[in-house]
Symmetry: C2
Subunit: 413 residues, 2 copies
Amino acid sequence: MLTVLTVKEAQQRILSSLNGKRTDMEIVPAMNLLGRVAVEEIVATEMVPSFARSTMDGFAVRSTDTFGASESIPALLTLKGNILMGKEPPGNLEPGEAMAIPTGGMLPPGSDSVVMVEYSEVLGNQVAVYRPAAPLENIIRIGDDFQQGDTVIPAGHVIRSQDIGILSALGHLQLKVYARPRVSIFSTGDEIISPAEQPKPGQIRDINGFALSAQVLEGGGDPQYRGIIADEKEELRSGLLASFDDADIIIISGGSSVGTRDVAVKVIDELPGGGVLFHGVSMRPGKPVIYGISGGKPIFGLSGNPVSAMFSFILFVRPVLRLIQGLPAFPAFVPYVEACLETNLSSPGGREDYVRVMLSGEESSGKEILLRARPVFGGPGLLSTMVKGDGYFVIPRDQEGIPEGSKVKVFLF
Amino acid sequence: MLTVLTVKEAQQRILSSLNGKRTDMEIVPAMNLLGRVAVEEIVATEMVPSFARSTMDGFAVRSTDTFGASESIPALLTLKGNILMGKEPPGNLEPGEAMAIPTGGMLPPGSDSVVMVEYSEVLGNQVAVYRPAAPLENIIRIGDDFQQGDTVIPAGHVIRSQDIGILSALGHLQLKVYARPRVSIFSTGDEIISPAEQPKPGQIRDINGFALSAQVLEGGGDPQYRGIIADEKEELRSGLLASFDDADIIIISGGSSVGTRDVAVKVIDELPGGGVLFHGVSMRPGKPVIYGISGGKPIFGLSGNPVSAMFSFILFVRPVLRLIQGLPAFPAFVPYVEACLETNLSSPGGREDYVRVMLSGEESSGKEILLRARPVFGGPGLLSTMVKGDGYFVIPRDQEGIPEGSKVKVFLF
């Protein structure tokens, strides 16, 4: 139980313990879908667009009628009328005819192309076309966006602004999504007091309860801050059990000392239907991570050190939050900024090292300048390294340091 | 007025028209601060931490008492008692003494170092120390995180999880932040109907109203979708004016055809105390952007084409949203993923080209694989290019194309 795992091993143990657990489903209106995860695939129930449209102001034509047209010998077509926005065209387009059409207007049957206003001229009841129009030029065909039956939103897709747009194009005013995971958050430790109180010597205000709640929110969850609980076996146990029905994930933070860590491990291990799956991960900061499960619910025991707790959240809790709300545990693409390390940096080796850095340098007038990354001074126990830092990069386990001038991938906080 | 600006010129005109306008201020509790922007600098009103703490389980000592200690000749110190979590130590530490201390415990006056449990042993009422302890080893001093008077949160800083953590450490349970900008969103165009309706031939459901509302939300604003308004001068004018008091920014989308664009331009230009500042930007997609101001309020006329409207939002509305909620208009660091372009790509040149791409390839077992970017097939008028795309990259104005295999910076949607 005290074996120290690598970050990857720990992540694998956590994820495989979940057995594909998901939160409940709920129906959410389109306007509130941003960031939510679709339970089911959405298929286009109609063509998008449902009619052929012009992408330019001009004249709907049969392209064959314009072949060979030029400035000197324009094609002369009969102007058959105007197409109005939002209305059906006044009739079919017969050979030798043209209809005026606005951008977004519906093409008349028979037409296959639009000549831009710029290349045409109305002469009485005729239109002179000064350039040949290619078939399909300046038009969007029926179903060019999505054909009926096409997958529009795959199952497990996180809804972005454009997805809300296409849902409204299809008249899909609501969507079945996974509920936001409810995360119960306890702080423990005899030295911890409420942030509303004035600490006596030896006491500190609760940091983790608030910082972890914000991380849960950021990760798409619904944080439920349960306050401070004594690191005493019976109280911890009854507190955890009382929150079980309303929580999908439980986090206890605190108990950094061996004695209190032991209490947390023991309590989690003795919960009904589960036990501690590991205790300790070879990373810096964040080593004393406890992970257990009870009744199928993941339970994390994070360090009382806020920096450790926050990195443990990023590495271990966030993947669970993602997974149970229907996403892959790890995103396929994680954006970063590349920066040049300003100093030599040694790392203990044998564990992953999460280095907080401040970034400087900006792109100026389009010219690209490589950013500079400066490690934030201060030990792993200092929250100021997170507050002053813009992000972090990772020194892998098998590396004992990294030389000045190296390019590093910085993940922004 | 019909001069077409570059993207940068347009951005500069917009930002300089705002005269440092900000939204109102409001007081928000710590738990709800994520993503909000601090109005005022927060200064540490006390030391963080407020007492010297141990970062290890072990013994508080005077480091000078341990100099020269070794496995064979340990330093023998008098065990003076236990320090309890959250309590003051039982007294001062005199020369030759040690006190047991847990991680997070308060150091007794007189001590300057902590010897880890691993390098010490209790022998009756004595502690044998088998290694010299360096001064300040395994301790966090008073104020190591923040000294009283230090800037903790600068003015204009966007609040992240760790910032909420440090605020709670300081007992700062609320913060003065800028209000979320209220953005009125109108859709216009005779072909546009409510997403709740069934379109007749030539009609399409409103996409932009919903997609832009989601973009506003994503950008930290408070979207107010005002529905569909006829692109008729008097109606547009009275609709805009009616929303003025409740909005910090106004967006009209639609009116892609020259005629309706002209109506929007005219209406915005004739609003009291302002006028149109530009009309048209050399970019693809998104050219027909109208920007005006009335009574100090920015008004955007975006294309009816959803792709154009969304990119115009990213390039022009988002910087305004940022600026008026107290942030720099453009973030100093914008994360991206680097990818290898899968095809040759031509670009019209003379305008910035925003290319939607699908990404593929993943990091596998720690080995880094360069992602591949494949442009999404389809014209700039197709929303499916945004829905199928993972992100976009930019081909600058002075470039007429980009060869297969080029490395591009992809900004994720």
